[in-house]
């Protein structure tokens, strides 16, 4: 337990120092959101219709951008060797690292959502619906993304290959995240159905992700 909490604390501390902290994640998110109106054109009605989608895309991209080095850095400096040798099961260590990543990179996005909602012309209900779906769904993004991060170590490859392998896995999360937000805003579906699927996806990924990542790390050492 101390082992895992030490790992989480270390990873968060490094993320805050090296990544420049939560602020930077939020800034990136903000940039994507600001970018969209330029891409789509200044049509407020369309923008607020696309709002949840844009926020979800921003979250997906932000996690994609940072996740591929989740294990790579530890691999390159030899930390991963020691982590693998330790008494802590590798699955738990992987989960702890992913959790730390989510706390440092995912959570601030959710906190920033209300501000971005304003920019996208979303009302209170819509904004809180999106924030809620992000809260339920971003763990799934992180925990499916960690599979790619594990593969990146095994294959000695990162970047686009990882994105290509991971993106198909995160599509369902995106679908249901956006669907649940839309349902809350415009109907006609109920919010509950897609939202509970989203939660289910998160729970499944919480289990599958660490196991898959640990499996590929274990086989990828050399």
């Amino acid at each position: 337990m101390t082992a895992l909490s030490a790992l989480i604390r270390r990873d968060i501390r490094i993320a805050l120092r090296v990544g420049g902290g939560a602020l930077i994640g939020v800034l990136f998110f903000l940039t994507v959101v600001v970018l969209m109106p330029f891409a789509v054109g200044p049509d407020l009605a369309l923008l607020s219709r696309l709002g949840p989608a844009i926020l979800w895309l921003g979250a997906l991209l932000a996690s994609l951008l940072t996740l591929d080095r989740l294990f790579m850095a530890d691999h390159e400096d030899g930390s991963l060797d020691l982590i693998t040798m330790s008494r802590t099961p590798l699955e738990l260590a992987c989960a702890a690292k992913a959790l730390a990543h989510w706390l440092a990179a995912g959570l601030p996005l959710i906190v920033a959502t209300p501000v971005l909602g304003l920019l996208l012309n979303l009302d209170m209900v819509a904004t809180s619906a999106v924030a809620l779906t992000l809260l339920a769904g971003t763990p799934a993004l992180t925990f499916t993304g960690m599979i790619g991060a594990g593969l990146a170590v095994t294959l000695h490859r990162g970047g686009l290959l990882m994105a290509v392998l991971v993106l198909p896995l995160s599509i369902p999360v995106l679908i249901f995240g956006v669907a649940a937000s839309q349902a809350a805003i415009v109907g006609p579906m109920t919010f509950g159905a897609p939202f509970s699927i989203l939660c289910a996806l998160s729970l499944v990924s919480l289990v599958v992700g660490p196991f898959a990542a640990a499996a590929s790390l274990r086989h990828g050492l050399d």
């Binding site: 599979i147 594990g150 593969l151 095994t154 294959l155 000695h156 490859r157 290959l161 290509v164 392998l165 993106l167 198909p168 896995l169 599509i171 369902p172 499944v204 599958v208 898959a212 499996a215 590929s216 086989h219 990828g220 050399d222």
Partner: protein
């Protein structure tokens, strides 16, 4: 490479050489019968002659999932039992599965145009198949990107098993979400609802395509084994040059570690 590594594939190669001609023959015969029957199948009262696309579409759609299933089992073989043939099987299956998936997508959209009035629709069935296709391509890219086959095998195995989650989603997407695509009519609880005049050619074609897959897969596995043999021989060639080089510079090998003998 240990002896066992070579021995098992060697026996497999012998088997393949013996079995392949028969398989190929059976495939040709079944596909010929299937094509003949589908050519003379009656028109559907709703779909007209376009129902003929079904005889291509459905076998390919089934196979696209079946091949991933085969790859998943092979992946278990790689990760759990470390069977030497397992990753060969998985690697050889990927391009074939991708081809079938591509055909399912293509014939599906060609069928969709007359039936639904559009080539493509972002509904659950269609998109989950598209994701399957993307994952096939991703796997192939992964195999290509990594030149150490055993390293690639393990990564690919993990990914294949994770991707297998997609299979039930494809299969049941029509039941879980109301989509354009029609629900299962052949493989469903409580028997098929399809008319015999369609069902029989469909089944013959399906078996024919399955045999085609088995044939191609065995042949591709043979190629893959040969490719690995070439690779390990080239490696040995390199290390043998190293060995003679050491003798030349006067240092000697006393330990068993040369192993090239």
């Amino acid at each position: 490479m240990t002896l066992i590594d070579l021995a098992n594939p060697t026996r497999f190669l012998a088997l393949t050489t013996r079995v392949l001609p028969w398989l190929a023959g059976a495939t040709v015969i079944l596909l010929a019968i299937g094509l003949y029957q589908s050519a003379y199948a009656p028109d559907d009262y709703q779909q007209g002659a376009t129902v003929k696309i079904m005889f291509i579409h459905v076998p390919n759609a089934w196979l696209s999932m079946f091949v991933w299933g085969v790859m998943s089992i092979a992946s278990l073989g790689t990760l759990v039992w470390r069977h030497p043939l397992a990753d060969v099987a998985a690697k050889a299956a990927a391009p074939i599965g991708a081809s079938f998936t591509f055909l399912a997508l293509l014939t599906g959209s060609l069928w969709g145009r007359p039936m639904w009035g559009t080539y493509w629709e972002w509904d659950a069935r269609l998109t989950s198949v598209l994701i399957l296709f993307l994952m096939y391509l991703g796997l192939m890219a992964l195999w290509r990107a990594v030149d150490d086959p055993s390293r690639a095998a393990r990564a690919a195995a993990v990914l294949t098993l994770v991707g297998a989650i997609n299979l039930p989603i494809i299969k049941f997407s029509v039941d879980w979400w109301n989509t354009l695509h029609q629900p299962a009519s052949v493989m469903r609880m409580g028997g098929s609802t399809l008319d015999k005049s369609f069902l029989i050619p469909l089944l013959v074609m399906a078996i024919g395509f399955t045999l085609l897959f088995v044939t191609l897969h065995l042949a591709a596995m043979r190629n893959e084994i040969l490719r690995r043999r070439v690779r390990s021989l080239q490696m040995m060639q390199a290390s043998r040059v190293a060995f003679s080089n050491e003798v030349g510079t006067g240092s000697h090998q006393e330990n068993a570690s040369t192993g090239a003998a």
